[in-house]
Amino acid sequence: MIAGKTWREIRMIGLAYILILEMLAIPVLMLWPDIYADLQRSTLFRSLGVDWIKRLGSGISQRNEEVAYLNWCAVMLFFRSTNLVGTAASVLIGTGLFAREREANTLEFLLARPISRSSLLWQKFWPCAVVVTAPIFIVNATAIPWSWQLELDLPKWELFLASLHAAIFALAFLTLTMYVSIIVRVQAHVAAIVGAFAVLQIGMYLTQRIRPYSLFRLVDFDWYAPIMTGNTPAWQMFDPIRSHGFTTYLIAATVLLYLLSWRAIHRTEP
C-alpha cells in the first residue's frame, strides 16, 4: 500500500529521468562518426597536462574505432550521464521520502498505522530504488539499437555490467539521501546537505591531488572503460581482495546506509 503510494508520487520523476537520460544519449551516439573524425585530426587531448583527461582523450581517439566507440560510450553514457543525472535523481527522489512526510504532518499518521517501521522503510525504499536504477538499464540498452544505426556493436554483457555498477552507485546515493531524510526534519535541509556532499565530491574529483579520495573515483572513465572493453571481467568488479572490487564497496555502502536508515526510523519520533 505504501509502496503503491510511493510509486504514484515518483513515477513522473522516473519518466522525466528516463527522457533526460535518453535525450543525453541519442545526440552523443548519433554524432559519433563526426566526433571520431574530428578526434583523429585533433591533438588537443594529447597535449593536455591533466592525466585523467589525457587518458580519456587517448581512449576515445584510438585508431580502432570499435574500441574508441566503447570508450566513448563509457564516457558519455556512464561517466557523464548516469553519474550526474543518476545522482541528481537519487537526491531529488530521496529528499522527500521522510522529511516531506514530517513537514506535512503525515509521518505521524503513517507511524501510527498498523505497519512495522521496517516495512514502512522497505515499502518506501524499493519503488524509489526501481525508479532510480531501472532507467539506467533501459536507456543504456537502447544504446544498442542506436549503435546499429552507426553499424557499430555494443557488447550486451559488458554494457549490462557497466549499467549494474552505475545503478549501484545511484542506489548508494539514494540510500544516503534516505538516511539524511530520516534524521533531518526539513526537506530543504536534506537537499542542501546531500547536494553539498555531492558537489564537494565532484570538486575533489576535479582536484588532481585529492582526486583519489573522491567517491566519483569509483565511477569514472578509468573504471567504466575497462568494463566496456571487456578488460574488467565481472569477478574483478566484485572481488575486493584480488582486484579493485569497487562494485562490492558500493554494495557494502548501500547496505550500511540502509541499516543506518533502519536504525534511524526505529528511533525517530514524529
Binding site: 503510494k5 504532518n105 503513517l110 519520533e269
Partner: protein
Amino acid sequence: MSDELIRIAGLQKSYDQHEVLHDINLSIHRGQLLGLIGPNGAGKSTLLRCLVGLVQRSGGELSLFGRDPATHSLQIRRQACYLPGETGVYHQMTGARFLKFALGFYAKQSLQLKERLLEQFQLPLNQKVRSYSAGMKQKLALIATLVPDVALYLLDEPDRGLDASVRFYLRDVLRTLKDQGKTIVLSSHHLSEVETLADRLEFLLNGRFVSNERLQRARAQLRRQPRIRLRSGHTLPDGAKLIRTEPDGILVVETDNDPMQWLQSFPQGAVASAEVGVDRLEDLYQLLLQDEVTPHCGVGDQTSAAEVAGGDA
C-alpha cells in the same frame, strides 16, 4: 482476563532536560471513555503518543492490552486507532483515495459507520484534499480514524477546526462507539462537551494530573466569578470584588454569595450582559496555575496569578 485495558504507572517523558510528563498514573478499563483536558503544552499529545508507541517514555511503566508499547507497538496499533493532533492528510490525493489508503491498513471496518459519517460530513471525495478547508481535512481524518473496527481509539483533539453542529454530531458518534464497548481516550479543549460524554475526566497541567479535589475547588471558585458588562454610568454594587477588567470591557468579579442573587441587586438596565456558572477553560487554567504557584493565595492575588499563567503560556 483483566478488564483493565490501559495501565500507566509513574510514567515520565523528557525531551533533553525538559520534563513533559511527570509521574502519570492511570488505569482505563474496557468500554470507558476518558477525557483528557489541559492547556496547550500540558503533555496531552505526548501522553497519547506514548500510549500508541510513537514516542518512547523516559521512565515508569505502561501497558495496553497487557503489552508494553515500547516493545509491542505494532500489536497495539493493530487494536488501536490514533488520530494525531496535527491533521495529517495527503494533499495530493483525492478524499476517496486517501480514505482507501488510510483504511486499507485495517482488516475490519465498520462500513455502517463509514456510510453514516460520509453522509453527515458531505465531503467532496472526488476532489484533491488540497482544496479542502481545515475543517474538511479534520472530518476526513476522523473518518479514517473512527471507521476501523478496533478496540481502542486514541483521539488527540478530534474536534479541532469543527463547528459546533459537527462537534455535537461527533459526540453522538463517540457515544455510539462507547455503547458498543469500545474504549476511547480523547483530549479536548471543550470541557463542558467532554464532560457530558466522558466516564472520567483527567486534567493535565504542566505534565501532571490535577487531583479531582483541586479541580473541583477551582471550578467552584470559578462559579462564584460572574462575567458582566455594565452599561455606561453604572458601577459595581457592594458584595463583590473586581478581579480584572478584560479588554472588551467585561468585568470579572468574585461574589461573596450566590452570583445569581448578587446580579439581581443591580438596578434595572444596568447590566448589558452577564455570564454565570460557565467553566471557561482559560480561567480554569489560570486558577490551577495560580494554585500551583501559590496554593493558598486569596482572591486579591488574582492579578499576579494571571501574570504567571500568561507568562507560562
